[in-house]
Symmetry: D2
Subunit: 246 residues, 4 copies
């Protein structure tokens, strides 16, 4: 079986502007996520891409060969070229899986696919987050206990301005008193989309074993399953005779 | 316009067995809920019914004239006659709204309509519950701020074994560390169903203004909107001629 | 009660380029749709807007006062300014209802809100279409019999590349052998969206009493119900104390 | 890898009462379906069960080892013991896949899981049915062209009184003028449910290569993916300290 082809995309901005972030992710958030995937999915082919590369590292040929794309962005959402966003959207509709992480809720590609603003409330206070499994039989929750904790995270709170998730895998409890739909599934065309909340740049969240397990599970869940037909043909020849009186 | 006809059903068992409950709800939980509805929906016709009445107060004629039914049960789920459950289910499919409260998650009628066990985790420790609005534009959240609190409630935790809600109106945060999908909407046939979590019998939850507002909003949301056609006719005469070669 | 404020938008291109279309809709498709609405919803305030007007007749002030927008486009989808599309999208998320008709399946605004291409198959052969009611209790089907027929229409066939509809109101049968999900509901933010298939420019579909009834029903169904909160506030002050050991 | 364990259940009544049915299915409908599965899924373990066997062939031990159950019933729905229906429901919630065929729309187990009557309209006129693929990327449509035809089938028409399908795979066109949602997906608990319309007992539908392909695809799609936790534990020890002032 051919290896599953995964690309981890990161804007890679905070890590080079903020020493506190560089201390946590010296090689970038993408490198930490990719390391987790290589560890848990040794048969997969895991690559990374960043904003500064030509076409943000998401040229047509590369995307055509990508089966699951992971997206981390925050500061530089506006710097992502619309042409690249449209290309990624087309690939999702064709069947490429998309995992959107944390502040990626405001990425152009996520808003484009969901059709809403994806806004939320937030607080940066390094508080405790506990993610509860709402659907213990879901493939994305495989190997996760009833809940797991992150000792320090940014808070995201409801309302999360997204269409109703088709499947709710996780909901977060925050020490400061809020809740959030932290693991949500949607389909668009032939593509599966998973939003996963944790991952503020100042905390070592992407080294956490549960977070790594969820991302690896989500990659397996999101891989393409069939071939989408998405065209607008004029089917001139009817299958039944037209013109018979009813 | 004819008044909206509402029936508040309560098993009315705890209140007569447990003095602590009787102290909170001397006339029964149903009386407190009905009082809230009469206050907020003065044009509605609000009645009550209890387990001990003939046919549990839900005879065929009465149900036929009921537009929204509210359900509170706990101890005596098994004592509800299957024939009454089937009658209620038929009325929901025809269009009667159904509001299921708190421990009603295990009521036969709720399980029948959803098809699952509706299990959850729980703890009785009188802890603080904060209900967050996930969908501020939803009619059931009208007049509710970003969140509201109940100082002492029983805890219900995820996983809540229900089909994915079609609309998520509230999610609860609990002081002890859990979360729960506290306000969920489904449709079955022509009927709308709303599950609303709060309301343990030992706390004065049904006197809380926010809880009363949510129940009144839910009643208005759940009222019948059309006429269901639910039959299995043999339509002998086709609208098109059969037997023409394709 | 203030009148419901409706705007019927039409690109108004075919009617001025094609005499056959002008013969059917001498004042434009928008005028025919508006006449139907004025007849069935006499208390509503019905206006029209077209592509050639400044800002396509959808300036900020006008949109802010519009509660339901109806959209017919075909030839000139690309000519609709992106800024106007974004403004309409924002208003839908705030709560404005949107009814997208026929070839509007390829309108930018519809693709933006659904996140997919909305492609389909088609044939122009003037064939018979029969629209079946899938959900007889739905408000949009009120007053419609089990099905209704249009003697001559363009055919649209599956697959219709949209996210799974939240409610399926109509499915069409075509004389030439195809089927199509002709009446579909979605929500985005606080806004309700209804796609309704019939209405090719060369047939008098928008004079048909059943089509007019469905559009009027859809307008009533889609009117705003609440107030959306869609912002991204930093909630600095937590409701619970942070820093307590678990 | 252990073989996938499939049980094909058939009431097996028509075949022994009606010579016309026996001529088409001399060994029973279950035998024809099982033969198709053995051919397309040679690694699977395919067994059959019928109404007349003790516990209808669905004893606790056997069900516990079944991963996907296929259900064909018509005449004898009422003869299926409620205890067996409850046992099957529990297994579905645990994760067993369930494929309900044709007249099984009125089976107790299907109504129990969906919560509605599942009624529809029908006509027995041996007419042509054409099943269109609505979701070409869905695993259940794998290997199926844009549509396929059955030359003679019983007609089922809308409205189909079921909750909104989570995924729509097929919609049928009928020669006599009706349409029907012929391939529908739902989840209940950890179990996946697929309803597939074709298969009237007087036609050789279960020998049709496309029908066999769809059933085999559905079996693969419906196989269990995880482990459901469905219990109602009292979690006495909170994860956070209770009693702190907010």
């Amino acid at each position: 079986m051919a290896p599953l082809r995964i690309v981890v995309w990161n804007e890679f901005v905070h890590e080079r502007q903020n020493p506190a972030v560089a201390a946590v992710y010296p090689e970038g958030i993408h490198a930490a996520i990719a390391a987790g995937l290589r560890d848990l999915l040794p048969a997969a082919a895991v690559e990374t891409a960043t904003l500064e590369e030509p076409e943000h590292g998401l040229g047509a040929a590369r995307l055509a060969g990508t089966e699951v794309l992971i997206w981390w962005g925050h500061r530089a959402h506006a710097a992502v070229a619309d042409a690249v966003v449209e290309r990624v959207q087309r690939r999702v509709l064709e069947g490429m899986g998309l995992i959107v992480l944390h502040s990626g809720h405001y990425a152009k590609i996520f808003q484009r696919l969901l059709g809403t603003t994806c806004s939320l409330t937030w607080r940066e206070a390094g508080e405790r987050e506990r993610l509860w499994v709402c659907n213990p039989g879901h493939p994305i929750a495989r190997g996760i206990d009833r809940c797991f904790e992150l000792p320090h995270e940014e808070m995201y709170g409801e309302p999360f301005a997204v269409p109703p998730p088709e499947e709710q895998v996780f909901i977060s409890w925050f020490e400061g008193g809020e809740v959030f739909r932290s693991g949500c599934c949607w389909r668009r065309g032939n593509g599966k989309i998973f939003y996963f909340r944790p991952g503020h740049e100042t905390y070592p969240t992407y080294f956490d074993p549960n977070v790594r397990r969820v991302i690896a599970n989500a990659v397996e869940w999101a891989q393409p399953q069939g071939q989408w037909r998405d065209e607008c043909p004029n089917v001139r020849n009817p299958r039944e005779k037209i013109g018979t009186p009813a």
